[in-house]
């Protein structure tokens, strides 16, 4: 695998996301695999934000180790990233002054170029895109189309200015090679060669140390896309025929609602920004009661506010999908950063006892499937379903094979088919096998549909009968058995594939930790460690039997999770009686790095005191 790592740093408001997204998409079009992570402060202007762009000949789902190209829109930010740089790294920046010693710099007056060619200093980010494309050896073909897709909504003029600035940035690097190829710059290792492209050299710098310019651009690779986790969740919901999407703006869930809002018209969505989270959840319950698929988008704090409504969905047996984005708490915590600390909360949220499912997709591909799966489960069992994601996963851009985004289309839309019911005889909570009653929506001619927050009788009216209470508690909670059976069947296949036969240590993780853990485990196996990863994308009902079938045999169990208390380790103990030998944890709001997970797992594996799970 050959790869190149770029880091683009700047101030909030300088359009860093545009740079990483457009550059990433150009690279994906050219046939590479790309992974982009976003590190953003909770402020609108200023500060220090950055995006990491990893380009590889092979699939990548985590940040790379060291950075080969740093683009700093503000030279003052370079110093902070010196520890991230590889020895041969090159730094693209505005001015040479104030740069730390020993840094290979390419000085490009991005703002001047932006002013001159883009007619506005704000297009400096587009100039940076062009400069970086030239640096990594992409041809500018397709730039127009890319900026059309990025800025088309803002009008022709904006597109034109950005394209002009990007071209100027490109020329500044590509033509003035003397300035842009400092002595220590080495070629991007193998980049593009795997893709069958012919490596070129810079005129006048034919020596091996010169950066390799085009022609590497292979034209568009049609099957590959660059999609954020949040966008994938929204698209998955659209694929599942969602009709009503609600939310109150809160990072990291806002991009889901934004995407839905932008596509409301063509997808036939009703997108409501409500007055608060309580309204968002209760509105969605009303819509789902009325027969439409409804989804609520929020973060941990907003989810707290929705807990009573979650309980209402449980009691009224209303299908409801909630996308809950995890960020470091408690309370406001770190608003724009990442965590995996709400998994136990999601499983137990809401007063009273009622079944729910909790899904934890790892990446954009899994998010797309999870959203469809969530609606399927919610409809089938008439329960709330929580999709847990986090800031890292939601904001990151993932390379996705288009064919892997399958629209399963397995929803059975609620019909008003009464199946020979006598007029006014429908019973919403009729007790039957598995706890699930036939569901009709209000507006069904000559039937009345009652949904009741109070304990109720089979038709739905309030009751305080002890016998009826027991009947209804049993009915509601019976649904968990069906949900569990489905999860076990799926998980059995998944964990078998991942828990390689010879592994002596099983590394459990859930949600967005998958990419990092998978790479760390691959590295450890390369070093002869007998280790395998088990990633859980269904965390509730917990697949206890599937896990039980692969543990034991003296296998050591460890977890990797982004929280302080080891919540997944607790679940393994509670549900499977497994005592984890240790947990690799991180809770500073930043995503795991492969290197730290590898090191952490290495320590746990060799630690004699960390005995095999009981």
């Amino acid at each position: 695998m050959s790869e190149l790592n770029l880091l683009i740093a700047g101030r909030a408001g300088q359009g860093l996301q545009v740079i990483s997204r457009t550059l990433g998409r150009m690279l994906v079009r050219a046939g590479y695999h790309v992974f982009v992570s976003q590190d953003v402060m909770s402020r609108i202007r200023g500060g220090h934000n950055f995006a990491r762009v990893r380009v590889s000949s092979e699939p990548v789902a985590a940040d790379g180790d060291k950075v080969q190209v740093l683009a700093a829109l503000d030279p003052a930010l370079v110093e902070r990233h010196v520890p991230d740089l590889s020895e041969d790294a090159v730094v693209v920046t505005e001015a040479a002054s104030d740069l730390p010693e020993g840094v290979n710099s390419i000085v490009i007056p991005l703002e001047d170029l932006a002013r001159e060619h883009g007619g506005d200093p704000v297009t400096a980010n587009a100039a940076a895109v062009g400069a970086l494309m030239a640096l990594v050896g992409l041809e500018p073909a397709g730039l127009d189309e890319m900026f059309e897709s990025e800025f088309g909504r803002k009008g022709e003029d904006v597109v034109r200015r950005n394209v002009a600035a990007a071209r100027a940035g490109y020329q500044a690097v590509a033509e003035d090679h003397k300035r842009c190829c400092p002595h220590r710059l080495s070629p991007a290792p193998g980049l593009g060669q795997d893709a069958g492209a012919k490596a070129g050299t810079v005129p006048g710098r034919e020596d091996a140390a010169a950066i390799r310019y085009s022609p590497r651009f292979r034209g568009h690779v049609p099957g590959r896309l660059l999609v954020s986790g949040a966008e994938a969740l929204a698209l998955g919901a659209i694929a599942a025929n969602v009709r009503v999407v609600t939310g109150y703006p809160m990072s990291p869930a806002t991009p889901i609602v934004e995407y839905c809002s932008r596509h409301a018209q063509e997808a036939g969505l009703i997108v409501e920004q409500t007055e608060d989270e309580v309204s968002a959840a209760n509105l969605a319950i009303g819509a789902a009661f009325a027969g439409e698929r409804a989804m609520v988008c929020t973060a941990g704090g907003g989810f707290c506010l929705m807990n009573e409504a979650l309980s209402l969905a449980g009691m009224t047996e209303t299908p409801l999908v909630l996308c809950v984005g995890m960020r470091p708490g408690p309370a406001t915590g770190m608003a724009t950063r990442t965590a995996q600390a709400d998994v136990l909360f999601s499983i137990y949220a809401g007063h009273g006892e009622f079944p729910r499912a909790v899904l934890a997709p790892a990446d954009a591909t899994q998010a797309f499937q999870a959203a469809q799966e969530a609606f399927r489960i919610a409809d089938k069992y008439q329960t709330p379903v929580i999709i847990l994601f986090d800031q890292f996963m939601g904001d990151a851009l993932w390379t996705v094979e288009r064919e892997s985004l399958r629209v399963t289309n397995d929803q059975a839309p609620m019909t008003n088919d009464q199946g020979g019911l006598k007029p006014y005889s429908y019973r919403r909570y009729e007790v039957g096998a598995g706890g699930v009653s036939p569901m009709l929506a209000p507006g069904t001619p000559e039937q009345l549909i009652y949904a009741d927050s109070d304990e109720h009788m089979e038709e739905g009216h309030i009751t305080e009968s002890a016998a009826m209470r027991v009947l209804m508690v049993n009915k509601r909670n019976a649904k968990l058995a069906g949900m569990r059976a489905e999860v076990e069947v799926k998980a059995k296949v998944e964990v078998k594939v991942e828990a390689k036969e010879e592994a002596e240590t099983l590394v459990f993780c859930f949600g967005s930790a998958r990419g990092v853990v998978a790479e760390a485990v691959t590295r450890l196996r390369g070093k002869g460690r007998k280790v395998a990863m088990v990633h859980l994308k269904h965390v509730w009902p917990f697949p206890r039997e599937a896990i039980g079938s692969i543990t034991g045999k003296g296998r050591k169990v460890v977890t990797v999770e982004q929280n302080y208390t080891g919540q997944l380790a607790r679940l393994l103990l509670q549900e499977c009686g497994l005592s984890a030998a240790g947990t690799v944890r991180r809770y500073d709001g930043r995503p795991f790095t492969v290197a730290e997970v590898e090191a952490g797992l290495g320590r746990l594996i060799t630690d004699e005191r960390a005995k095999a799970g009981a």
């Binding site: 007055e275 309204s279 009325a290 439409e292 006014y424 209000p442």
Partner: protein, 292 residues
């Protein structure tokens, strides 16, 4: 067993004898019977309290939800299926206390929903605490249960928020109230009715007799509901201190504003049936072009 016929319910009514809710329930049933709607075309969304139980007793579809949250759920029902007639029912604690934010938004949004706020100036189901509409004279069932704040004026708030149908009824005048509810049902927008209601058990200040002596019908005073200034003046007549106050009932203000679910929202006008015929796979396929 469900044995509902037109505007009757098999549910056992659990209110105190003499409760103002009986008058409101009767008025609502009369208005619905006169509306020409069938029970299956109507959804009543109830809050929690004695008032919210109306949702179970009317004999229509119901979603008996959470305390304070009838309005958001009602909006969800209306957005999902605009063909349904939607009525949100709650008490003063529901609509003015716990759910105050939703009421503000409902006035501003103007969805085609009827909102009945049972206002008895006291919390009944929790046994006699002060409500947002309790007067300063209200002392409550036990010391400290009274209010030390002036009463909430929902109609003034509604007018300030751009409400399009602002009315007050009296549970003791069923004929008047049922006409008022009928008007709110016909109104294309947020039909808000604050309903004065005695609480025979816990409110010994604002009794049925107390109200009966003070209420007067705006319609008999040649009040013009399209005149915002006149509406404001009438709205500010009550709540007020003193024993000589008079309390206007009827429609204070009415304006024509597009209903929320129909204004500038092409996607909302797509009916459920049309939408179901659309293939989500083709929508996604097109959307994915953006990510190349």
């Amino acid at each position: 067993m469900a044995e509902d016929k037109a505007w009757t319910s098999s549910a056992e009514i659990t209110w105190c004898p003499g409760c103002g809710n009986f008058g409101i329930l009767t008025a609502l049933r009369q208005a619905l019977a006169a509306s020409g709607l069938s029970p299956w075309q109507v959804v009543v969304v109830g809050g929690i309290g004695q008032s919210g139980k109306v949702s179970q007793y009317v004999g229509a579809n119901f979603l008996h939800g959470l305390h304070g949250r009838a309005l958001p759920s009602a909006l969800g029902v209306k957005l999902a299926n605009p063909e349904l007639a939607v009525i949100a029912v709650g008490g003063d604690g529901d609509m003015y206390g716990e759910g105050g934010n939703h009421l503000l938004s409902a006035f501003r949004r103007n969805p085609d929903i009827v909102c009945l706020a049972h206002n008895n100036g006291v919390y009944g189901l929790t046994k006699g605490q002060a409500a947002p509409t309790s007067t300063l004279a209200f002392t409550g069932k036990y010391p400290g249960a009274g209010t030390h704040s002036p009463p909430f004026n929902p109609l003034a708030v509604g007018l300030a928020m751009g409400g399009s149908f602002i009315a007050r009824g009296f549970a003791g005048d069923v004929k008047h109230l049922s006409r008022l509810i009928g008007d709110a049902l016909e109104h294309k927008g947020f039909g808000f009715i604050d309903i004065l209601q005695p609480c025979v058990t816990y409110n010994h200040v604002n009794t049925a007799e107390w109200y009966r002596k003070r209420v007067y019908d705006l319609a008999l005073e040649s009040h013009d509901p399209s005149d915002e200034d006149a509406a404001r003046a009438r709205i500010l007549e009550w709540p007020a201190e003193g024993d000589e106050v008079e309390i206007p009932i009827g429609v204070f203000y009415r304006s024509r504003r597009p209903a929320y679910e129909t204004c500038g929202r092409a996607e909302a006008r797509t009916s459920s049936a049309e939408r179901r015929s659309a293939d989500p796979a083709s929508v996604v396929k097109k959307a994915l072009e953006e990510f190349r």
